[in-house]
């Protein structure tokens, strides 16, 4: 999402349309410059395949459509100038359960008209793209790094070993609130009930059935299930691109390493956006 905004000259935190698996058809009622990043949902502009991770001018009446998902789960569409949605409680995100934020607090539907602020023209921006080696690869076997805790002491020792050595499968009951995973049962070593406390993005909570749930962007703020690990901030977007049936493998990480990965990610975003074509050759 941040990359999409940077490609069209916006602030990285501006709003972008999140498009999950089945994309909409959009007709532009005025010209603009767009960029699509994230999942490859076979975008087309007026019937022609549209390159991702690069900005592109669209004319009045142009039709943007999406087709078969090729990789990942969620695509991000940014438009130069930014989508005209007012921040609610400091965010332009849509919170469906609270019918809050974004476009009338709901998903877009046929017939909606979405405004965007006047932005820069393509001749002002120039062609911008993210260097190919900076583009994330979304695999159907996702590997994410995680920090132990905060409630790892609720679990049997072998549960922690199991968690880090086996793979889990993304269940159909997964959404922006949480990713339910299926796999080897994680046993607790105590029957004591946890007193509800705060949750965080990427926390992996385990209900009594022993099947982990990774808490995602629309998670509840507090919860009463113990959290065995917390996925590092830098790897949450990778997991958010996983879809039903994909496998997830967790690898232990520590805080200093997580922070250095996060900084690397920021540097890629800072330096990875270049004008024109990347200078590279393909060996074949």
């Amino acid at each position: 999402m941040q990359a999409a905004n940077l490609l069209v000259g916006n602030n990285p935190g501006d709003g972008a349309l999140e498009i999950t698996l089945a994309g909409p058809r959009l007709r532009f009622l005025s010209p603009g410059v767009i960029a699509i990043t994230g999942a490859d949902l076979s975008p087309t502009l007026d019937g022609e395949p549209l390159s991702m991770w690069v900005n592109c001018p669209v004319g009045r009446g142009s039709i943007l459509a999406f087709g078969t998902p090729r990789s990942g789960c969620r695509s991000y569409l940014a438009v130069s100038g930014g989508w005209a949605v007012e921040p609610v409680l400091g965010s332009r995100s849509t919170y469906l359960r609270g019918q809050l934020g974004g476009f009338q607090g709901r998903a877009l539907k046929e017939g909606d008209q979405l405004q965007f602020h006047p932005g820069k023209r393509i001749d002002q921006l120039g062609t911008r793209q993210l260097c190919p080696d900076a583009i994330p690869v979304y695999s159907r076997q996702v590997t994410v790094r995680a920090i132990l805790g905060p409630q790892e002491d609720f679990f049997a020792k072998d549960a922690i070993e199991t968690f880090f050595s086996k793979t889990y499968r993304v269940s159909a009951l997964s959404d922006r609130m949480g990713y339910r995973l299926e796999g080897p049962r994680l046993n607790r070593q105590t029957d004591k009930e946890m007193i509800s406390d705060a949750t965080t993005l990427g926390a992996v909570q385990v209900p009594p059935d022993g099947q982990p749930i990774v808490l995602m962007a629309d998670r509840q703020t507090t919860g009463g299930y113990p959290k065995i690990v917390t996925v590092i901030t830098a790897d949450v977007p990778l997991l958010a691109q996983a879809k039903m049936g994909d496998t997830v493998q967790f690898i232990p990480c520590d805080i200093p390493k997580a922070h250095s990965i996060l900084r690397q990610q920021r540097d890629i975003l800072r330096n990875g956006i270049v004008n024109g074509a990347c200078h590279s050759v393909e060996v074949f």
Partner: protein, 301 residues
């Protein structure tokens, strides 16, 4: 000097700092639901709210923990850890979170409180007695969570404490007032839930369009005032027109009855009254202690 060290040791002994991922420290006090421990959580939250360190993204106080979310681009994890330890060790009564008391009007029973009759039967009381007991105490807001603006209030008199429903409802209407064990709470928006619903308030506890979407905060006091249908409709109408509740001031609670001896909100007198931020004064703190005394004397445990 020795006593100061004792105090520090005392605080350190009862708290621990645990990382929750790479951008949050979880301060855990003794893991039990008690007013004293919750007040420590509130006090630490108050300290951070007053200091507003630029690296703090958000703090979430709960029953006996405080989550402190920080910006890892601005500060190292160990620096946050040191800062928090210093503040934990320096916590004292003077820093206890200031609080105000809110009076929430509730229409009990009927379609607004579908579980009132069965709850009364279960505990062997008349519905009116359940209402009297429920609206008798001033409750402490232990935490906010679950959905925007949901406040966890306690503790409910054991006389009317009932467990959650076996089968949670798919949707509980906004404003519903429920009981779950020794907790009582208000559903700010329609949400699935298993609390036993005894009434409904016309107050909009959560409104994203308002300057303060949620006006009740953790550490505040909440009382319930039984109202009739006519009042319900009147307040409901006022809320729709943008009326916002103000905390009650000058409330008195004399420890043995805990009854409503203070002023009630005058629903008619303040159309469009501005919501007033918390009363950060000694008086409200004192009331905090008074209400502590009254909840202790209400026959609990």
């Amino acid at each position: 000097m020795a006593s100061q060290m004792d105090f520090m040791n005392d605080q350190s002994k009862n708290a621990s700092l645990i990382p929750m991922g790479d951008s949050c420290w979880l301060v855990q006090f003794q893991q039990e639901i008690s007013l004293d421990i919750n007040r420590k959580v509130q006090a630490l939250a108050e300290v951070l709210e007053r200091a507003q360190p630029p690296w703090v993204r958000e703090i979430v106080p709960t029953y006996c923990s405080l989550a402190v979310y920080y910006d890892p681009f601005q500060i190292e994890a160990y620096e946050v850890e040191c800062y928090l330890w210093a503040e934990i060790n320096l916590l004292n009564d003077a820093m206890m979170a200031s609080s105000v008391i809110w009076e929430i009007p509730v229409l009990y029973g009927g379609e607004w409180g579908p579980d009132l009759v069965s709850l009364a039967l279960r505990v062997g009381l008349k519905p009116e007695e359940v209402i009297a007991i429920h609206s008798h105490s001033t409750y402490h807001v232990y935490m906010l969570g679950f959905v925007p603006g949901f406040c966890y209030l306690g503790k409910v008199s054991p006389k009317i404490a009932v467990p959650r429903l076996d089968n949670p409802r798919k949707s509980v209407p906004a404003g519903s007032v429920g009981i779950a064990g020794l907790q009582t709470g208000i559903y700010p928006i329609a949400a699935p839930g298993g609390w036993q619903i005894i009434g409904r308030t016309p107050f909009g506890l959560y409104d994203p369009k308002r300057e303060k979407a949620v006006f009740v905060k953790a550490g505040d006091g909440v009382r319930f005032k039984p109202i009739d249908l006519a009042t319900y409709h009147m307040v409901s109408q006022k809320v729709k027109m943008g009326w916002q509740p103000t905390p009650i001031e000058g409330t008195k609670s004399n420890g043995n009855s805990g009854g409503h001896q203070g002023r009630f909100i005058d629903y008619g007198a303040r159309p469009g009254a501005l919501w007033t931020p918390s009363l950060r004064n000694a008086r409200s703190r004192r009331h905090g202690h008074l209400f502590l005394a009254s909840s202790k004397s209400s026959g609990r445990q």
